[in-house]
Amino acid sequence: MRKVISFLLLAGFVFYFATLTGGLIIPDSSADRNSVGLDILSRSAGETGSANAVTSVVVLYRGFDTLGEVTVLFLAALGVSVFMKSTGEKRKKVLDQSFILKTGSRLLFPLMFLFGMYIIAHGHLSPGGGFPGGVIIATGFFVILLTSESVNFNKTLMSVLEGLAGLSFIGLGVVGLLGPGNSFLQNFLPLGEFNTVFSAGIIPLIYAVVGIKVGAELSSVVYAMKESK
């Protein structure tokens, strides 16, 4: 019965969606349409010095969203640690992993770490940036976590890193607020030469901070979910 009702509700939803949006069938929008994004596109390279327009939107034009998004991850990590705090039970013995897996993962980690750093550092030039880079670093960490019995995971270090990265994000914003632009997250560094690694003002800095924060938060989320017993 519940299935029927929810099916009817959702069918109604689709019908509504289809009829009132002018149909699910719509033509492709053309370049002459009017949108904020296209305005940004025509000015972003000159204003921010970033070759990747998505990056300049994420970090500068909508940098406040990114701050909020990092906060959401921070909250998720905090929430997982609230619910997954150790209950005092004894830890089960983890099955011993094979030597090859262990050694392989240890070898893989530096490579993944470097790759993540590369992605973060080139966020303003090519696709990628703080989020995927941070995730790749965290994934490298999981590989070790999943294959080894005991990992020296310093929870305090992680929460210090999270806090420090968050504060640096806000700090970078406040420098812009106190600077001549008088606006939070305002770029206060020279733009540099277009399309080189050291360019685009504070974008690489913010992305580095975001990368550290995302990496630390995701690592502590997965660690807390796996190890808390």
Binding site: I25, V58, R62
Partner: protein, 121 residues
Amino acid sequence: MNGVLSISTVLNFGSAGLIVLGLYIVFTQKNLIKMVIGIDLAETGVNVLLVSTGYIKGNTAPIFSKTGLQVSSMVDPVPQALVLTSIVIGFGVSALALAMIIKLYEKTGTLDTSKIRGLKW
């Protein structure tokens, strides 16, 4: 391109389908982890919808290179930035939901919503 089927149409169908499937899973399934899967799917569907709002047929990714691509041949970067945010938020919510569910499982020993008193709605 033939009149009816356009890329935006395909994407709209896909996203609407995914949202509806996700919500259907949330409404009908009794397993808590499966409900979280449903939320995850619906969120993915919304992300597809968002990206498709910025799509302009035949245009390239909004990345400038030294050879100098024309601005008029790029897609809208704003929805992509929004989707980056919403993907990360979606992950945060899923991870939190699963942590709560694990803890609830430790207290009640079941994942079945019909067996958990407070979850009958």
